[in-house]
């Protein structure tokens, strides 16, 4: 697995951040030669993935990897240090980057989009910032790249350049920047001033000496300040960002950006507050119930949306809150479930977005009501959609089963039966808003008469896009049967475990 074993482990981290940047530079260089440009994109993505695999390898062999770039303030550096949760996120993001690049090639060409170089360039930039977020060693580093991620994805959101896109971009930038500057930064500075450190420390940085009200306030500030986690009422940016081209929506708004949000929340909960201390904080329950309310409400909103991407966006809002809830349950199993959900939801949701994009390219349809009978034209896409939908719902044999399972077990462990009930209801809501789409596509026809079906009538998306869809769909299944590597990785996170504590 580890083809980079000759490299100094610390260099590996630098490389994971720098390689996408180099890729971006080459993409800009080859702006006139689309084939070369996209070749560079794919090669960069593959190299990055092998790098992350090497990091994973080192993590399993308990090799500590740290590097410091520059001291921004006395005692506060831009520094990186690898820990398992970050590795998990990096694995997911870098793997899906390869797939998304392949998909984008089909999509962008099929759609005849303009400014493709800018698209691939910003894409590589944002992946670089995501890598930096994954491996950040302290909150300052995390914050800096969190902001850079917002800025580097803004051109992707407004890619179309239409009035709608600009409006979406404004909401996107407005919500994300304002929450992060006003609340997140305040929370970070509050932590810095009171705890004297921003380093991610297993078990948390706060001690008994810190006043309860301060810590309680900080938790609220963190939860809302990390606007990328889309906790209601700061979720508006996510549906607004759906004006982006579908590949951007799929990677950024099903994986990189939103997962950077919940990843940050998990990091803060595990390494700043400490899972064991969480139950002593007064506002934990408040935020927990806001999270559960978000789960339910956004599922309800999703049902009312006819635009497929909008429905998926609200579904994402709801699924993100699963992770927030899992983080705030103050249970090690729930935290494990939340971490696993980063991966399982990512593969599921990205497949759904890929399918949405494929439908847009091949059949030029955006609204669900127009997709009746589409299964005949695009069988592979719609089968993939069905599988991914099942995974999001959490039915076996799909990947989503595991994360939901651990979340439920965690809720039981934390003795919060109401969360169990809510998670169940939410699964039913998922069924209600996701499954009708493939069902209608396959079993209903717009006109009523049923001509014999044949392959020749099918009109699927371009081949690269189709390959991408098949790969992620396979991943949805694969992760059900072989979740062990990921679970092993999660068990390495301090205070997080898939085993119940009471068990011998």
């Amino acid at each position: 697995m580890n083809i980079w074993s000759t490299l100094d482990p610390a260099q590996l981290i630098n490389l994971t951040i720098v390689v996408p940047l180099i890729g971006a530079a080459f993409i800009a260089l080859f702006s006139q030669q689309p084939n070369l440009r996209e070749g560079v994109s794919i090669i960069t993505a593959v190299v990055l993935f092998t790098l992350v695999l090497a990091v994973t390898d080192n993590t399993f062999s308990k090799l500590s990897m740290e590097t410091t770039w520059v001291a921004l303030f006395p005692g506060l550096e831009i520094a990186y240090s690898v820990e398992p949760l970050g590795v998990l996120f990096a694995l997911v993001a870098s793997f899906l980057w390869i797939i998304t690049t392949i998909y984008s090639i089909g999509y962008m060409r099929g759609h005849n989009e303009e400014n493709q170089t800018r698209f691939f360039f910003c894409f590589a930039l944002s992946i670089s910032t995501v890598m930096a977020i994954c491996f950040s060693a302290n909150l300052l580093t995390l914050f800096i790249f969190y902001e850079l991620l917002t800025l580097s994805t803004y051109p992707l959101v407004t890619h179309a350049g239409t009035k709608e896109a600009k409006h979406g971009g404004r909401v996107y930038l407005g919500v994300l920047l304002s929450t992060s500057i006003v609340l997140f930064l305040l929370a970070i500075l509050g932590t810095w001033v009171s705890a004297g450190t921003l380093n991610f420390t297993p078990g948390g940085v706060f001690t008994q000496a810190h006043s309860d009200s301060l810590v309680a306030l900080l938790l609220v500030l963190f939860c809302y300040g990390i606007g990328k986690a889309a906790l209601m009422p700061f979720h508006r940016w996510l549906p607004a960002a759906m004006v982006a081209p579908t590949p951007a929506s799929s990677l950024l708004h099903a994986v990189a950006v939103v997962k950077a949000g919940v990843f940050s929340i998990l990091k803060v909960v595990i390494y700043i507050f400490g899972i064991d201390n969480l139950s002593d904080i007064a506002t934990t329950d408040v935020m927990l119930y806001i999270g559960t309310a978000t789960v339910l409400l956004s599922s309800c909103v999703a049902m009312t949306k006819d635009s497929l991407k909008a429905r998926l966006a609200y579904s994402t809002v709801s699924q993100l809150s699963y992770i927030v809830v899992g983080a705030l349950l103050a249970s090690s199993v729930a935290a494990a479930g939340a971490s696993l959900h980063i991966a399982t939801h990512a593969v599921g949701k990205i497949t759904l977005f890929f399918c949405a994009g494929a439908i847009m390219v091949a059949a030029h349809k955006k609204n669900i009501s127009e997709m009746v009978g589409l299964g005949r034209k695009m069988p592979i896409t719609m089968i993939a959609f069905a599988i991914a939908a099942l995974s999001i719902i959490g039915l076996p044999p799909m990947a989503g089963t595991w994360s939901k399972w651990y979340l439920m077990v965690g809720a039981v462990e934390a003795d919060k039966m109401i969360i169990v009930v809510v998670l169940t209801i939410s699964s039913l809501l998922n069924v209600a808003y996701l499954l009708p789409i493939p069902i209608k596509a396959f079993f209903n026809t717009p006109s009523g008469d049923q001509p014999a079906w044949s392959w020749s009538e099918t009109k699927e998306a371009p081949l690269p896009s189709l390959i991408a869809i098949v790969v992620t769909t396979t991943a949805c299944l694969w992760l059900f049967f072989y979740p062990q590597p990921l679970i092993d990785l999660i068990n390495l996170i301090p205070d997080v475990s898939t085993e119940l504590k009471g068990r011998p």
């Binding site: 500057i181 006003v182 305040l186 509050g190």
Partner: protein, 501 residues
């Protein structure tokens, strides 16, 4: 031998070069001389800054008259830091000015422009170097008079009324300072700052001194455009030639903030101003109102120079906020912001000046579509704008970080939040311009015109400032240690009081 005279040279050099500029007569010769002199002053200032960081305060007796009888040049880290910024910006602005004033200022007045600029620089350097309260007033007036002239050189006739308004308010402010200094002298019999500080401590709570402080604070507040005494600033910056706006916005008001810091911390002492007179509450309230009112005003202007002018008043609010927090971290944040804001506002005004040169307008409509037509200028504007907002890895983030830290250290959560909310307004007013530049089609103001990128002589200084914005946002060791040393020195009296309690 030569080295011992270094502290006085940043004042003497521009003073001597100013009349030479007129004598030279030719515009480009005057430009060359002014730029060289300014650059030389900058090199000396940096050298002085490094010396103060190593050795502490530099003292120089003018004409060999020993203080407190003679006028003392007294440069500590705070003065040296701002002096370096002022002379550095002045040099860059002069490089920039050649192309910029070619279109905005009448050719017959070009040599006068350089003369006035050098005189202004003399005054500013003088304010920053002097250790004598009355001398400070004189230098303040030298720089102000030069400034009124510079503002009146604009191409629009409204620059005249703006300059006149500035002159009336500035003179009232200066006269107030004069009254205050007179009262100080009445009570203490000295004008040397160090002597004053000693004797004021003896007369703690004296009514003459209190009245003097009131006059001085109001006078300085006019000069630094603290809300609500800022009314002269927006028209002056809007109608002055762009090079002048860039220079004034990044230096003149900052030096006035320095004067306030001097009077509060060195002469009166924080104890007198903040405990006996409770000025911190007043300053804090005004600073917060300034941040919000003027940031809001900036969001509704259509003239981009006016936007930046109002933004300047708001940013001054941040500096005063840092001072009014009465802590060494707060003061340090204020000093840092003086320096950092000079970098960003200088770059922004330079970019706007380049747009004015090429499009003939600074209305926000003229910016439409410039992202493609003037990519380098607009990239500079974008980065400097991000710095104003306080995005990480820019200089603006560093000062904001310390400002909020200072507020939080005193458990002032509400103030910390207000500071951060203020940056949201900055997002709006900078964002509007960026949106016009990058996402809108050229308007009727520029449609059909062939708009080229700004000339090299304008781009280089602009980009030097932009790179400085990024550099000082990442490698903060120099600015931080300078600001920290300066703040420690200035708040020495305060920490002693705290220790005694």
């Amino acid at each position: 031998m030569f080295a011992q005279h270094l502290p006085v040279l940043p004042i003497i050099l521009p003073l001597m070069a100013a009349p030479l500029c007129i004598l030279l007569g030719r515009s480009h010769l005057a430009w060359l001389l002014a730029t060289l002199v300014s650059a030389l002053s900058f090199v000396i200032s940096v050298d002085v800054l490094l010396t103060t960081l190593e050795q502490g305060v530099l003292s120089y007796a003018i004409g060999g008259w020993q203080p407190p009888w003679g006028i003392e040049i007294r440069i500590d880290t705070a003065s040296a830091m701002i002096l370096s910024a002022v002379t550095g910006i002045s040099t860059l602005v002069l490089v920039y000015a050649k192309e910029s004033i070619a279109k905005e200022v009448d050719p017959s007045q070009h040599t006068l422009f350089y003369t006035a600029h050098l005189l202004c620089l003399t005054g500013l350097s003088g304010i920053l170097s002097t250790g004598d309260a009355f001398n400070l007033f004189v230098f303040l007036e030298i720089s102000s008079l030069a400034t009124y002239t510079l503002v009146s050189l604009g191409s629009d006739k409204r620059c005249l009324t703006a300059a006149f308004r500035y002159l009336v308010m500035g003179t009232i402010g200066a006269t107030f300072i004069l009254i205050g200094v007179g009262m100080l002298y009445m009570k203490t019999g000295t004008l040397n700052m160090i002597d004053l500080a000693d004797r004021i401590a003896e007369f703690n709570g004296n009514r003459t001194l209190k009245t003097g402080l009131a006059f001085i604070l109001v006078g300085v507040s006019i000069k630094l455009a603290l809300f609500p005494l800022h009314m002269w600033l927006p028209p002056a910056y809007t109608h002055a030639p762009s090079a002048v706006s860039a220079f004034l916005a990044s230096t003149a008001t900052k030096v006035a903030v320095y004067v306030m810091v001097r009077f509060i911390f060195t002469i009166y002492g924080a104890e007198f101003v903040f405990h006996t007179m409770s000025m911190d509450i007043l300053l804090l309230a005004l600073a917060i109102v300034a941040i919000f009112k003027c940031s809001f005003m900036a969001t509704v202007q259509s003239n981009v120079k006016t936007v930046l002018a109002y933004s300047s008043v708001a940013q001054i609010g941040y500096m005063i906020l840092g001072i009014s927090l009465v802590s060494s971290v707060g003061l340090m944040a204020g000093l840092l912001h003086i320096f950092n804001h000079a970098l960003m506002k200088g770059a922004l005004f330079m970019a706007v000046g380049a747009v004015l040169l090429r499009t003939g307008s600074v209305d926000i409509k003229a910016f439409q579509g410039l992202g493609k037509q003037m990519p380098l200028t607009m990239a500079a504007f974008t980065i400097a704008g991000l710095s104003i907002i306080g995005v990480p890895l820019t200089a603006g983030f560093v000062s904001k970080w310390y400002l909020v830290t200072a507020a939080l250290e005193q458990q002032q959560w509400v103030i910390a939040m207000l500071v951060l909310l203020g940056s949201l307004l900055a997002i709006i007013y900078i964002g509007r311009i960026l949106e016009a530049a990058y996402f809108k089609e050229p308007s009727e103001l520029t449609a059909g015109k062939d708009i080229k990128e700004a000339p090299m002589l304008m781009l280089v200084p602009m980009w030097v400032l932009v790179i400085a914005n990024i550099y000082f946002g990442i490698d903060t060791s120099l600015t931080l240690s300078a600001a920290d040393t300066a703040a420690q020195l200035l708040t020495q009296s305060m920490t002693e009081i705290e220790a005694a309690q």
